[in-house]
């Protein structure tokens, strides 16, 4: 009879052993970071334009309540819209500049007579076809962004966009978007 009374404990142990036989969550979950948008707006009666803004890279973590190990940059896109009131075939020549509080300016993008229609829809700035449109990015600036995203807390960056258009007036909005992956710490 004593043997029978230990059966519930044995059964419970079997269940526990079964559930404990599998380790779950031993690798960190990789999350898509919230895209960070940099929005610049131009409304000029002349062909010259310029605008700047600041954006906190910590926005990558918006909406996430996980403990973060690191952040990795995997894409940057550009779209130019809100072009009502300007010639549709306008070409832009100019620079996107990147600056932080603790560093000098770095050129992120150079446009040389780039047709704004190339960015009528969101497009990766790393698209090799863009080179034919006079559009180039600078690897050093990408590395700077990569390093800034690895800082804790993530700093604020200043982005400036200036240059000259092939026509006037100029009315457009340029939106740069940073796409990242967020590496969480392991939850146990």
């Amino acid at each position: 009879m004593k043997r029978v009374s230990s059966l519930p404990q044995i059964s419970a142990c079997i269940l526990l052993i079964l559930m404990a036989g599998c380790e779950i969550g031993t690798n960190p979950v990789i999350l898509d970071g919230s895209p960070v948008s940099v929005n610049l707006s131009v409304n000029q009666l002349t062909a010259f334009f310029g605008d700047s803004t600041s954006v906190s890279l910590s926005k990558v973590l918006a909406g996430l309540d996980n403990e973060v190990d690191s952040i990795r940059l995997f894409n940057i896109t550009l779209v130019i819209d809100s072009t009502t009131g300007m010639a549709p075939d306008t070409k832009l020549s100019g620079l996107f500049m990147l600056r932080t509080n603790n560093s000098g300016s770095d050129t992120l993008i150079t446009m040389n007579s780039t047709d704004i229609r190339s960015f009528a829809t969101e497009r990766s700035i790393f698209d090799p076809k863009l080179a034919d449109s006079g559009f180039t990015y600078r690897s050093t600036a990408i590395l700077t962004l990569h390093d800034l995203l690895r800082q804790t807390p993530q700093p604020t960056v200043f982005i400036a966009f200036g240059g000259v258009g092939s026509t006037a007036p100029l009315h457009f909005a340029a939106h740069l978007k940073l796409y990242t992956q967020v590496f969480t710490t392991i939850q146990n």
């Binding site: 029978v4 059966l7 779950i24 690798n27 999350l31 990795r72 995997f74 990408i142 939850q187």
Partner: protein
């Protein structure tokens, strides 16, 4: 005797409930569920297919340990059934599609499945840019499951099998619920010359795993057994299917709802096992071979 048996069953259930309660640790979302929400409909299929196969293989295991069913008379058995699917190296990898972005290779890449280790890293079009596929989340070579199960009979050579378990969230394991059952019918009275006991069985189960994964499993098969003193050698051939439904919001870019059904690849299995009958206590274990290999074992109490 019947009163004592009922008391015993109640104590077992209380013990299991206590274990479950003591190990519960409620989280808003488990890593598995967070991982799921980072997979778009293209990549989730391959990443999760091995897991879908284990769900099917586990659920369709452990329903029987003998093919001997009397024609009429009371039969009751309470069992704790444990089952598990063996995870080989092939189940630890899958094919993933890189981001559909210029500059990244668009060729499929071999990376970690849900049972794998670290996701593959692919270099981006510029220095400092890279993309890592999702990491594996189940670090195991064996995917286990367990459930209490009750078998009741015998009515004209027929037994009913019922299994049910509700497991709350435990650490990184999402809460899960399994409910299902089946019937088994002896074929010996139709074929009295058969040298072994033979039954036919039909089983159906419904399983939920966290908030985003649910599955149904169906199995039909024939079982045979032959007893030698306290030992019974049993086996079976089974046709089975299981479908796992995924329903979640992909939180990557662009945010979108993912609703899709994945079918397990295992459809036919052969099983062989051994049951030891010690009066009121049964011990059994078996192995099933099909597209995946599954094992099950049980300890049963009853008469």
């Amino acid at each position: 005797m019947r009163q004592k048996s009922g008391l015993l069953t109640a104590r077992i259930m209380i013990a299991i409930a206590a274990v479950i309660f003591l190990t519960s640790n409620v989280q808003a979302q488990t890593p598995f569920e967070e991982t799921l929400q980072q997979l778009n409909s293209m990549n989730v299929r391959n990443y999760l297919q091995p897991f879908v196969n284990t769900i099917g293989a586990n659920l369709n295991s452990g329903f029987y340990h003998t093919a001997e069913i009397g024609d009429l008379g009371f039969y009751f058995q309470f069992q704790i059934v444990g089952m598990g699917t063996i995870i080989g190296d092939a189940e630890k990898v899958c094919t993933g599609l890189p981001p559909q972005s210029p500059g990244y290779s668009h060729n499929p890449v071999q990376t970690a499945s849900v049972f794998g280790d670290k996701g593959t890293i692919i270099q981006g079009p510029a220095p400092g840019l890279s993309y890592q596929f999702q990491n594996g989340q189940f670090n195991t070579s064996f995917m286990p499951f367990g459930t209490p199960q009750v078998t009741i009979g015998n009515l004209f050579g027929t037994q009913a099998v019922v299994r049910f378990i509700q497991i709350p969230e435990m650490g990184n394991i999402p809460r899960s619920t399994l409910a299902g059952g089946g019937i088994r019918h002896s074929l010996n009275k139709y074929f009295p010359v058969l040298p072994i006991n033979v039954t036919a069985g039909l089983f159906y189960q419904k399983f939920t795993f966290g908030d985003y994964v649910s599955a149904t499993a169906t199995a039909f098969g024939f079982q045979g057994s032959k007893s030698f003193s306290i030992a019974t050698v049993y086996g079976g051939l089974q046709y089975e299917s299981s479908t796992t439904s995924l329903d979640y919001v992909f939180k990557g870019q662009p945010v979108s709802k993912v609703s899709l059904d994945l079918s397990a690849t295992n459809t036919i299995r052969a099983t062989i096992g051994l049951n030891l009958n010690f009066a009121l206590v049964n011990l059994n274990g078996d192995i099933s071979v099909g597209n995946v290999t599954a094992v099950s074992a049980g300890i049963g109490f009853g008469m």
